[in-house]
């Protein structure tokens, strides 16, 4: 523990960013799990990797190195994540591909295209590997301000709209019949999902982003008897895994993202084994 505290002065932006991302994504993850869109979470995370690859490859091809700036890469990561979330929110329909099919297509394209785009760039490939395998070492103090703003906005929206959102997730037809603007809420939630995942992905990478998005909500769902507490229980579980996860990872000299995700997976397995809710 003392060893971990001694590393604080060097790594505090990474630690704080990791914990903030865990809490932020766990709140949003409740909506993703409630809508049975777990695979969409993976596709949106992967799509933001494509945005970052586009920024690097555009910079290399055009010679305009401002493309490779953090802000531009973050912007393109968010743009591709938002586009993915919005396309999936549109959903399938008669004569159209199913939402699930579209999400699978985006996931596979976003997983393969970045490597093709950056095949001849050692720096680019390294960045893609960093995003795929998740490392929090790249977090900057400025990221904390953005994450703080996203957390506050997400918390306020979750508090203000928790009941309409829950009703839409549980029974969309009745929500619309009761005057809830279902379509607008779904599109707004998709937009916000893209923004938060796109930003978190650039800071923490695919594994940590996807893990913190879906695992805390899945565990919370097994533990809670009602839906309303999920909005605080999921982030509490995420933080409960990320705090010790980072300490254990530091002490044992292993990556913190993988340790945190492993702890969350263990928590979910334990929730399954003990039977969870619905008695």
């Amino acid at each position: 523990m003392n060893d971990f505290l001694a590393s604080w002065s060097l790594f505090w932006p990474s630690y704080l960013a990791g914990w903030a991302i865990a809490v932020l994504l766990a709140v949003i993850g409740v909506w993703v799990v409630a809508r049975r869109e777990v695979f969409l979470g993976a596709a949106v995370s992967q799509a933001s990797a494509l945005g970052i690859a586009l920024a690097i490859s555009l910079g290399a091809w055009s010679g305009a190195h401002w493309f490779e700036r953090d802000s531009v890469a973050a912007g393109l990561a968010i743009a591709t994540a938002v586009a993915t979330a919005l396309v999936s929110a549109r959903g399938g329909g008669p004569g159209r591909e199913s939402a699930e099919g579209i999400v699978a297509w985006i996931f596979l394209l976003s997983a393969s295209l970045p490597t093709l785009l950056l095949a001849r760039s050692a720096h680019g490939l390294e960045e893609i590997h960093r995003l795929t395998f998740s490392t929090l070492l790249g977090a900057q103090p400025a990221d904390l301000w953005v994450l703080g703003a996203l957390l506050v906005a997400t918390g306020l929206a979750a508090w203000r709209y928790r009941e309409p959102l829950l009703l839409v997730a549980l029974d969309g037809e009745t929500a619309a019949a009761f005057g809830v603007p279902r379509r607008r809420l779904v599109v707004a939630a998709a937009l916000w999902l893209g923004v938060c995942i796109g930003f978190a992905m650039r800071v923490s990478g695919m594994l940590y982003t996807f893990g913190c998005l879906v695992l805390p909500a899945l565990v919370a769902r097994r533990l809670a008897r009602e839906s309303r507490p999920l909005v605080w229980l999921a982030p509490a579980l995420a933080l409960g895994a990320a705090l010790p996860g980072f300490v254990i990872a530091h002490v044992t000299d292993v990556p913190p993202a993988q340790m945190t995700v492993t702890l969350l997976c263990a928590a979910l397995a334990l929730a399954w084994a003990t039977g969870g809710r619905r008695a």
Partner: protein, 222 residues
């Protein structure tokens, strides 16, 4: 006005895209009436119900809603069973409380309104139970309580007895009768079961191929 229709259609056509599923339908539902819309599956009954709920816009004709119901705050709706997602945990009390979304019931009265609605349909003792652990009949009563918690003047029910055993159906229909007679709530029940129309409704419309083919109770049940 006491006799003003709560909801009235004149030559109404509804559908998806440009394709009409329901055509040339005319009716008026007034306070305290018990309507049954009967017909085979796929004849357009549920589409008409979606139109009444404001989920579909008329392709032709007119659908007039009494001004006090225009924001749908005092319209209750019980969907077909199986339309709820079981991705979330919920208790009966929480589910019924979600019926207050968009209603005019003041915040201070909401806990009491939930208790009243549960008691009204006889499931108060199930309030803390998981909704997903209930039997089919108990779930249907919980969904009915979710609609009643809005203190509706008009209650729309889509195939409410589907999949229930005979005894549970009879108990549920007795609850509908009580709501109709004592609370003077107007009911519109969509069903394909003629006996519900025969034994409970005071207005009946028979649907076939998206049209009302018989409107007078005696003609339909003859």
């Amino acid at each position: 006005m006491a006799d003003e229709p709560l909801i009235a259609a004149r030559g109404l056509a509804l559908g998806y895209g440009d394709e009409a599923v329901v055509r040339d339908v005319t009716f008026a539902v007034r306070a305290g009436e018990f309507w049954c819309w009967i017909g085979p599956n796929g004849c357009g009954k549920s589409t008409l119900l979606r139109g009444l709920l404001g989920l579909l816009s008329p392709l032709a004709g007119a659908l007039d809603v009494a001004p006090r119901l225009a924001d749908r705050a005092r319209i209750g709706y019980v969907p077909q069973r199986g339309e709820l997602s079981d991705a979330l945990p919920t208790t009966v009390r929480e589910l019924v409380g979600l019926g207050l979304v968009g209603s005019r019931v003041p915040r201070a009265e909401r806990s009491e309104a939930v208790r009243d609605a549960l008691a009204q349909v006889g499931v108060l003792e199930l309030a803390e139970r998981s909704f997903w652990s209930l039997s089919g009949g108990q779930r249907q009563r919980a969904l009915l309580a979710r609609a009643l918690v809005r203190r509706p003047e008009l209650l729309l029910l889509d195939e409410p007895t589907e999949g229930l055993d005979v005894a549970t159906q009879q108990a549920l229909l007795a609850t509908f009768d009580a709501l109709h007679r004592t609370a003077r709530i107007a009911l519109v029940v969509v069903t394909h079961r003629h006996e519900i129309a025969r034994d409970h409704a005071d207005h009946v419309a028979l649907f076939a191929d998206g049209r009302v083919v018989a409107g007078a109770r005696e003609a339909v049940l003859a």
